[in-house]
């Protein structure tokens, strides 16, 4: 997001898998000159507590984004297809959604 200052270390986005079974989640960013240093800083910063399993760092300027607020056409389709969601349909059992597969 921010411009790269001359000589300033690059910005890296940090993703942490906090537990087995979870996807890596974006937790913030760090400044570091190179990937190894970025990983080390990310580890000191975002994994001081807990028992995290894995870290990713990605150069912030290598992240390509599409945000609904800014590029509506990209996501316009998503909101208008209610049939993609289970709630659109009648429950499988009389008791309600209990019989449905729940993600």
């Amino acid at each position: 997001m921010s411009r790269r200052r001359e000589g300033a270390p690059a910005s890296w986005e940090v993703f942490l898998r906090a537990r087995r079974g979870l996807a890596h989640q974006h937790v913030g960013s760090v400044r570091a000159a190179d990937p190894d240093a970025a990983l080390a800083t990310a580890r000191d910063l975002y994994a001081r507590r807990g028992d995290p399993l894995s870290l990713w760092v990605v150069r912030s300027d290598a992240v390509h984004t599409a945000s609904p607020d800014e590029r509506d056409p990209y996501f316009a389709g998503a909101r208008h297809k209610p049939y993609r969601y289970p709630e659109h349909f009648a429950p499988l059992t009389g008791e309600g959604a209990d019989g449905d597969h729940v993600e």
């Binding site: 997001m1 300033a8 000159a33 190179d34 240093a37 910063l45 607020d69 509506d72 056409p73 909101r79």
Partner: protein, 349 residues
């Protein structure tokens, strides 16, 4: 972000720029509805500026706040306390970095922010313009100023700007440990020898005012000690910050909450808070205390004193002494990048 909030937005501002007032209306509706503003959303300049200023000041305070306690790392009187203090000072460095990272999502550059701190253009909390003179000060700082910080910061976990709120949730989780350990440290002193207890009381005598006055900002209500004009001004600033969801309570509300929390804690420790006006007010359901008037506030600021200068000087010296190290890291990375690029051209995939 809620579907409702996104649905309300215009089609594609990049293609068809919406009129500023239309964008503002969407923004106001989003914030008024308790929605979260994210980095790439349109936002009013004033909102962005207020956030950058607040987040940067908070980040600077964490970094400068490492110093008074950091000076006691080498002198902690037990290895357990030493470990705890290292972990705490380390958290403060971490909090500074979380917050700089949040500020950067608003287009601020961390190097610029640090430079502004070093040049005195931006400031850290004036609380740290006070010296940590004894070991007990590390306990008083953690119990009182971190205790105040938690009260101040807890509402910020729900602040309207997403990256700030997320950073603050991490900060608050960790601050809870800071306050507890500070209280625990003070309790050990109060249960120790008379000399230890005396040291604890002395530290509280010196840290109470900086905590109660400075951690919550200047008085912004007449009840809190501001004159009518200042109260109106303070209220206006607070109102705007509240309307934008950056702030959720007045300074004086939070200050009252802090006093209400500390008085019984001090009683349990057997320590006296240095304010003779403190007493329970049945009618209000709160503790009365001496209002932090503007004079008291200004006096507590300790601006341009020995310690105010010293803190910045130390930060600037560390930064300047480290220039060659940062330059080396940058040069190394540039060379590695160049080598990698050369290899890619030599061996096309």
């Amino acid at each position: 972000m809620s579907a409702q909030a996104t649905a309300a937005l215009p089609a594609d501002p990049a293609v068809a720029p919406a009129a500023e007032d239309e964008l503002l209306a969407h923004f106001d509706a989003l914030v008024a509805g308790g929605g979260t503003v994210e980095p790439r959303d349109w936002m009013p300049d004033g909102y962005r500026r207020m956030l950058v200023r607040q987040i940067a000041q908070h980040a600077h305070s964490e970094i400068i706040g490492m110093q008074p306690e950091g000076g006691w790392l080498t002198r902690a009187p037990s290895l357990h306390r030493k470990s705890v203090l290292i972990a705490k000072v380390q958290d403060e460095a971490g909090h500074g970095l979380y917050l700089y990272s949040a500020a950067e999502t608003l287009g601020a550059d961390r190097a610029d922010l640090l430079e502004a701190l070093h040049r005195g253009q931006q400031r850290a909390s004036a609380t740290f313009n006070h010296p940590a003179l004894t070991w007990a000060d590390t306990g008083a700082i953690a119990w009182l100023t971190d205790g105040a910080a938690v009260i101040n910061q807890a509402p910020l976990c729900r602040t309207s700007y997403g990256p700030y709120a997320r950073a603050m949730r991490r900060v608050c989780q960790e601050e809870a440990f800071h306050v507890r350990q500070g209280y625990d440290l003070m309790r050990a002193l109060c249960e120790g020898t008379p000399e230890q207890k005396e040291m604890a009381q002395d530290a509280v005598d010196r840290w109470w005012l900086p905590a109660v006055a400075l951690m919550f900002g200047p008085p912004d209500t007449e009840a809190g000690g501001a004159d009518a004009r200042t109260a109106a001004l303070g209220a206006a600033v607070s109102r705007r910050a509240m309307a934008w969801g950056i702030k959720r309570h007045t300074n004086d509300e939070l200050r009252q909450r802090f006093v209400d929390q500390c008085v019984p804690q001090a009683e349990r420790l057997g320590l006296t808070l240095p304010d003779p006006a403190i007493r329970w007010n049945e009618e209000r359901g709160h503790y009365d205390f001496t209002p932090v008037g503007w004079d008291t506030y200004r006096e507590a600021l300790g601006d341009d004193t020995h310690w105010a200068r010293q803190r910045i000087e130390r930060r600037r010296a560390a930064h300047e002494d480290g220039t060659w190290v940062r330059e080396a890291a940058a040069a190394y990375a540039a060379r590695e990048d160049a080598d990698a690029a050369r290899q890619r051209t030599e061996e096309p995939a």
